[in-house]
């Protein structure tokens, strides 16, 4: 293969879109391409993707990104992959076709299965082995649902005809040849969120597989984050795939949070605060998850504690698409700026229940404080403030769990282009909020892993040197206002809890 091998590419398979970004040695973005895929909501609480469509988008963005910068595959030293986590795909190894729509992380149909698992001794077993209590959020309940509902799947699963994976597994398998010798692997961060893997050994645990009746023949091999898994046969022919990561862990890595206590929050469809906890698996009393941060070959595993917020940017999308209040997501800032405050209105977007710190699958969203004074501009404020207050809640939970008080917060993701929101986050946290020079930390983290695997970057210290501050928002809200608004938010949240059970 000819070419300079002087760049690294990342494929970021997200909830709303698939993008390819190309980076140079200094971690600067030199090319980008992106395609959205369709969201399917066949019934309330369900959210599906077509894995075949996502694979096609992947095949489009890779050459498009290269072409936009006049590059050829030979100019790439490696490809890294980041993916929307927990989204579950099952496919036929012979035809290469998915056996059913992919069940996404926003889909609630695993909740019932998870509730059964969480009850009694199996709940303790999962907590002991995976470091998390079962919740419908993780992939295994979705896999169980598919095995139960797709005719003949359980039987075929035992024969090895069928493969399970999250999006990175699906893409790596296809990129490396699909039915024709495709490599079936996952990485430690994605595996740690299935409910099937031991968080310490990072291997599938037979006891958990037995509880869920998941045949081991279905499962990919678990690999470190930075390792050459194989070479692309299509898409980027000849380019080694050097790394894979769940998107939130990729962002932690991209923000170079390599030391214990370093944290970042990524604002995309949802928002996810992760703090590196080093070799410690922290058990949370405040609704946080312990998860794998990263594993580099031959080195001890780094862990993280995570505050997961299900709905952040997707509330802005709902405001745009379902309420048709704005034409594009950024216009919400223009609308919100028409007024000084929220006019007493609060929106709690418990669309799929509440994630951290409450984990109530039966919560449903509310808009409260409506009076005839409230305009759509106040609603726009309330939409943005919901993300701010949800951040404050997970930051509080993390500080309580770890005893480490935040003195600043590193942020990234699409919503960080909203100045009003970032100022509000700083205001409600009472600490400076910092954005790095590359907002696409997810892609950068995936590129970093792949580049490390092939020796394009020598070590973590060099990567650290690539981090530069692009903006800082300083807190400006008075403590009195903060307390008053915090209390009002808390009362609004109470009104969402248990709604679906009918006892709220």
């Amino acid at each position: 293969m000819t070419g300079s091998r002087s760049y690294v590419a990342a494929l970021d398979q997200g909830t709303t879109s698939t993008r390819c970004l190309v980076f140079d040695h200094a971690g600067r973005m030199v090319a980008a391409a992106q395609h959205e895929h369709r969201q399917h909501y066949p019934q309330p609480g369900w959210a599906e993707h077509d894995a075949a469509e996502i694979w096609q988008n992947c095949l489009r963005v890779l050459p498009e990104a290269l072409a936009s910068a006049g590059l050829v595959p030979g100019d790439l030293a490696a490809l890294g992959i980041a993916n929307q986590r927990e989204t579950t795909v099952v496919w036929d190894r012979t035809t290469g076709r998915p056996v059913a729509p992919a069940i996404t992380w926003q889909d609630t149909r695993g909740a019932e299965i998870a509730a059964q698992l969480a009850d009694g001794p199996t709940g303790d077993l999962f907590e002991e082995v995976c470091g998390m209590r079962p919740a419908g959020y993780f992939s295994a309940p979705r896999l169980r649902w598919l095995l139960d509902h797709v005719p003949g799947l359980q039987r075929r699963a035992r024969t090895g005809e069928i493969a399970f994976g999250t999006m990175e597994s699906w893409l790596i398998w296809n990129l490396t040849g699909g039915p024709d010798g495709g490599v079936h692997v996952t990485d430690v961060t994605n595996a740690s969120r299935t409910l099937l893997a031991d968080v310490r050994t990072l291997q599938w645990d037979q006891r958990l597989l037995d509880v869920l009746d998941v045949p081991v023949e279905l499962l990919p091999e678990i690999r470190p984050n930075a390792q050459v898994y194989g070479e692309c046969r299509v898409g980027l022919p000849g380019v080694p795939i050097g790394g894979a990561f769940g998107d939130q862990q990729a962002a932690l890595f991209g923000q170079t949070c390599f030391a214990t206590g370093e944290a970042k929050c990524t604002y995309g469809t949802g928002a996810f605060l992760l703090m590196n906890t080093g070799d410690q698996i922290t058990r949370s009393d405040h609704g946080l998850l312990s998860t794998v941060a990263y594993q580099l070959e031959g080195q001890p595993t780094a862990y993280a504690t995570e505050g997961s917020i299900a709905v952040a940017g997707s509330l802005v999308q709902w405001f745009r698409d379902s309420l048709e209040m704005i034409g594009s997501a950024p216009e919400i800032e223009t609308l919100a700026r028409r007024v000084e405050d929220n006019g007493g209105c609060y929106i709690v977007p418990a669309f799929a229940g509440l994630f951290a710190p409450r984990w109530d699958p039966d919560a449903r969203g509310v808009v409260v404080g409506l009076t005839s004074y409230v305009t759509k501009a106040h609603l726009a404020r309330a939409v943005l403030e919901a993300t701010g207050w949800q951040t404050a809640e997970v930051v509080e939970a993390m500080a309580a769990d770890t005893g480490i008080a935040f003195t600043r917060l590193r942020v990234d993701g699409g919503m960080t282009s909203n100045h009003l929101l970032m100022q509000f986050v700083s205001d409600v946290l009472g600490v400076p909020v910092e954005r790095p020079l590359v907002s696409e930390s997810v892609s950068l983290g995936a590129a970093y892993a792949a580049g490390l695997a092939v020796g394009y970057w020598p070590d973590l210290e060099v990567l650290r040197g690539n981090w530069h501050r692009a903006a800082t928002w300083e807190p400006a809200m008075s403590p009195a206002v903060r307390e008053r608004e915090r209390a009002a938010w808390g009362r609004a949240v109470e009104r969402t809890l248990g709604w679906e059970r009918g006892d709220a």
Partner: protein, 252 residues
């Protein structure tokens, strides 16, 4: 109607018809309803598709009103502009080592809608939302040169900020003309002593400047020994501004 232009009248009729029908219309039907030969109507619709006022369904070939019409009355949202600019502004800061600002015209001033720090770790304050004078900033001179309302030059007040500030209207007019010719502006200490800037327009439909993108920094980092911007700097700024403009064409 004497003195009207027939082709514009016909184009307006096509638009009215498409607006009234509410579903894509085949060419033949358009021609029949307007009582015009097919080739004539085809020429009109093709032109309207070209300018974005009409879209053609790729499968059926039928015509409908395009997004361009709806966007006509609405000015480009400044926050949408920022969102599209972020990645390119970051890249520009990373490559030049300079602070990056994105400005829009706001009355007779520049409003900074996006700001990227100089990536050297030094303490800096976020300037998003700040106002700059049109005549004394590179962003402002670009906006004067590429905005359709540049006639406002005549009513502009020209307060002095530094000894290098342009205070003569005639001189400013000449500078703005040369900015329009060369496609970018540079300012050397006209707003703050010892601080220089280079800016280029973000050009949308018909080349109209909807914003200005600039790099700002200590004079010796921006200006070369010959008094012009350092080699390649204006090209880098212009290329980034063009990349942002390209993202305005697509809808996400």
């Amino acid at each position: 109607m004497a003195g009207t232009i027939q082709s514009i009248e016909r184009a307006a009729a096509v638009l009215h018809l498409l607006g009234a029908v509410g579903e894509p219309v085949p060419l033949g039907e358009l021609a029949r309803t307007l009582d015009l030969p097919k080739p004539t109507v085809h020429g009109i619709t093709r032109t309207l598709v070209e300018v974005g006022f009409v879209v053609q369904d790729p499968e059926t070939g039928h015509y409908a009103l395009g997004r361009g019409l709806r966007d006509l009355g609405a000015r480009l949202d400044p926050h949408l502009l920022r969102a599209r600019a972020v990645n390119w502004a970051d890249g520009l800061a990373a490559r030049t080592g300079l602070e990056v600002q994105l400005g829009i015209l706001s009355g007779t001033t520049v409003e900074i809608v996006h700001h990227v720090f100089r990536p050297d770790g030094s303490p800096q304050r976020l300037r998003t939302g700040e106002i700059q004078p049109l005549h004394a900033s590179a962003l402002g001179q670009v906006l004067l040169a590429f905005s359709p309302t540049s006639s406002r030059l005549r009513n502009l007040e020209l307060p002095v900020h530094t000894p290098a500030t342009l205070t003569s209207r005639l001189e400013l007019t000449r500078v703005v003309q040369s900015v329009r010719r060369q496609g970018w502006a540079h300012v050397d200490g006209a707003l703050r002593p010892g601080v220089a800037a280079v800016a280029a327009p973000v050009r949308h439909h018909l080349g109209i400047g909807v914003g200005a993108l600039g790099v700002v920094g200590p004079r010796e980092w921006v200006i070369g020994p010959d008094g012009a911007p350092r080699a390649g700097l204006a090209e880098q700024v212009t290329a980034s501004a063009e990349a942002i403009a390209a993202t305005l064409q697509e809808r996400l």
